[in-house]
């Protein structure tokens, strides 16, 4: 399907990438009814030191993608495709390899930090555990490092906080603790699954600043999932837009958000209060709602909400295709790639 030239470039990119996901497909079996097709054959790469934004609304498959990368999905999920991390196959790892991979190479933080911490255990001890999964250290050394981590992520009175319990902390502080625990392992990849959705805006700005600093200072690669294009704009080098389990557009952040080619990206930008023109009181609207993972929409999953939809969009699912003159900018739309971008 792809030209030989493209394939060469892909291979080259893959060898440079820290993480490569190819044709990832995830279905959930349920007791009642049809299996849910949550992720539909997506491919993506994350380079070393790169911050990639994974954008989508509810049901887009962004969280399932993150969980698949760490093999954290429940037993009723069936995964096909390839996931390679530094050239190593993640899907084929045995339990011990997998444990070490999650503890030391790729860490994840979630939207609700409170539920990821043990409420009965002092915060400091939880960070020390994280240090010990990664390397051997004396209790005194591990404690010193844990306190240093707390300082590193901007927690004031780190000594006192070290002995505190999760319930004594605010949501913003807990998210910092989660980041500290992740960093204690000095991972190469940090996956942030909507890490600021439950936080206040001023706290969100602080967490973004922290992630940005870590990426700059430690060269940690980051996958940042969000429904908020504004955050992507402030944080990410590259953006991947997902809709109904598939990637609909991917490009460098400025290109994807400045000159989007997929109608969904274009319309999502118009619907965002942050992105609409300064004078606009009315926001641009996308009719309908994001589909549920149980809805099986033929062709392009966005066609029922798309003003440009034609007959072929109903019949054949468009693949990701390079936009004119921009090999790194790809969009999955029959119409705009033939007739030009949708007017904002």
């Amino acid at each position: 399907m792809a030209s030989p030239e493209r394939t060469d470039r892909d291979l080259e990119a893959r060898s440079r990438a820290l993480l490569a996901v190819e044709d990832l497909d995830v279905r959930f079996r349920s007791a009642a009814g049809e299996p849910v097709h949550a992720v539909k054959g997506i491919s993506l790469e994350v380079g070393r030191g790169e911050v990639v934004g994974l954008v989508g609304e509810s049901g887009s498959g962004k969280s399932v993608t993150c969980m698949s990368i760490l093999r954290l999905l429940p037993a009723n999920a069936s995964i096909t495709g390839r996931i390679t991390f530094e050239g190593r196959d993640v899907v084929g790892m045995d339990a011990e390899d997998l444990r070490r991979f999650r503890a030391t190479q790729a860490r994840i933080i979630f939207q609700d930090p409170g539920s990821s911490l043990n409420p009965l255990m002092r915060v400091g001890n939880q960070i020390m555990e994280s240090i010990w999964t990664n390397r051997q250290a004396s209790a005194a050394d591990a404690k010193r490092d844990a306190i240093e981590m707390l300082e590193r992520v901007g927690i004031a009175e780190s000594r006192r906080r070290f002995s505190g319990y999760p319930h004594e902390m605010s949501g913003g502080m807990l998210q910092r603790v989660m980041i500290a625990m992740a960093l204690a392992a000095n991972p190469k990849l940090l996956i942030c699954d909507e890490p600021t959705t439950a936080l206040d805006v001023t706290t969100e700005a602080q967490i973004l600043e922290l992630i940005r600093d870590l990426n700059r200072d430690l060269k940690t690669s980051v996958i940042f999932t969000t429904h908020d294009l504004g955050l992507v704009r402030q944080l990410c080098d590259r953006v991947i837009v997902m809709y109904a389990g598939a990637i609909v557009e991917t490009a460098a952040t400025e290109a994807a958000l400045g000159e989007p080619w997929h109608p969904y990206t274009t319309m999502l930008l118009g619907a965002e209060p942050e992105s609409a023109p300064p004078e606009a009181r009315r926001l641009k609207v996308i009719a309908g709602s994001p589909p549920r993972p149980t809805d099986n929409i033929p062709g392009c999953a966005f066609h029922p909400r798309c003003p440009l939809a034609e007959q072929r969009c109903v019949e054949v699912t468009p693949p990701l295709m390079a936009v004119p003159d921009r090999p790194q900018h790809r969009a999955a739309c029959w119409v705009t790639l033939e007739k030009g971008r949708m007017g904002g």
Binding site: E57, S58, A156, S170, G172, M173, D200, V201, T202, T203, E204, A205, Q206, E209, H227, D228, L229, G230, L231, R233, Q234, E254, M267, L268, G270, A271, E272, P273, E274, S275, A276, P278, A280, R281, R282, L283, K284, V285, I286, A287, S289, P290, R305
Partner: protein, 317 residues
């Protein structure tokens, strides 16, 4: 609608149920919402914005000050008199998952206020429910559906239709879109604006999202730890914020690549124990010694631009 120095304190009870402290959730707030006007009320958690909304709607009784609605003091009305007020003043809630009764069909939910207030015959109520469905963009067939069959956006439309059933003049919308997807949020925001034009409604729109409130509001008031720190016409406040807290909110998620980020230090202090002087000083990039000593009063530094800061306009976005 007008509030005059409205306060709402909640007692904090210690052992044996004795009151040991008061949380000043809302502290001497004066606001006005004119006819067909939307006032956006912005703040983060603990700012008191929701408590203020509930006090205006008289779901809380104010501890101090006055709430006036259509020229009448409603601060301490009893239940019977409030029932009349609530025909004219209604609320739309944040979470369309919990604010709808799962056992009520859409039609029953929307018709309930009419039945409670014994408006018209059951036939004319049916008629009114049909009108309301159409008004908020639902299909006639949706009246027989139940909340679990609806999407988030559809549920919020039901919540709006229920609020409009008694033809109120004033709606208080408390974070009506914060649990919705971005693409659906825009639909609800535009619907509220349409309804304002068609029905001549006034709105108090409560949200944490300054960018959103800018789209819907004529004027905006920003709250921090129970007090209003700044208010003004939406566009002016957004383009030239005078309070450093407003400036930080405007800078958050701003669309421009080149716009400056203002990252505040620390966290919002507990409303139980707010800092001395200016409540914002612990996080303020320009706080000085004076800010710890005195609370800056809300002063109109320019016509229509009251701000509670000794150094207004110093932090630029």
């Amino acid at each position: 609608m007008r509030t005059l120095g409205v306060s709402k304190f909640f007692p904090v009870r210690g052992r044996f149920g004795r009151t040991t402290a008061q949380v000043h959730a809302v502290d001497s707030v004066s606001l006005e919402v004119g006819h067909q006007e939307t006032l956006g009320l912005v703040g983060e958690s603990g700012s008191g914005k929701t408590t203020l909304g509930w006090t205006v709607a008289r779901l809380h009784e104010p501890t101090g000050g006055k709430v006036e609605f259509e020229g009448r003091d409603i601060s301490h009305l009893g239940r019977g008199a409030l029932k009349d007020v609530h025909r004219r003043l209604q609320m739309v809630f944040q979470n369309p998952w919990t604010s709808l009764d799962p056992q009520f069909s859409v039609g029953d939910t929307i018709g309930e206020p009419l039945a409670i207030h014994r408006v018209g015959s059951s036939r004319s109520r049916e008629q009114r429910v049909a009108e309301l469905l159409d008004l908020v963009g639902l299909r006639p067939a949706d009246r027989h559906r139940f909340p679990h069959e609806l999407s988030g956006g559809q549920r919020q439309r039901v919540g709006i239709a229920r609020a409009l059933a008694l033809e109120p003049s004033f709606l208080i919308a408390d974070e009506p879109t914060s649990s919705l997807d971005v693409s659906v949020q825009a639909q609800i925001v535009n619907l509220l604006q349409d309804l304002q034009e068609r029905l001549g409604l006034s709105f108090l729109f409560i949200t944490h999202n300054l960018h959103l409130v800018r789209r819907v509001s004529h004027r905006i008031a920003v709250m921090y730890l129970g007090r209003v720190v700044e208010s003004g016409p939406a566009r002016e406040l957004f383009e030239r914020p005078l309070h450093p807290y407003t400036a930080a909110l405007v800078a958050s998620k701003s669309a421009g690549y080149e716009s400056r980020r203002i990252v505040l230090k620390g966290e919002i202090p507990s409303p139980l124990n707010p800092p001395s002087g200016c409540h914002f000083r612990t996080r303020c990039p320009i706080a000085r010694e004076r800010c710890a000593r005195e609370y800056p009063p809300l002063v109109e530094v320019e016509p229509g631009r009251p701000v509670a800061c000794f150094y207004p306009g110093e932090v630029k976005t």
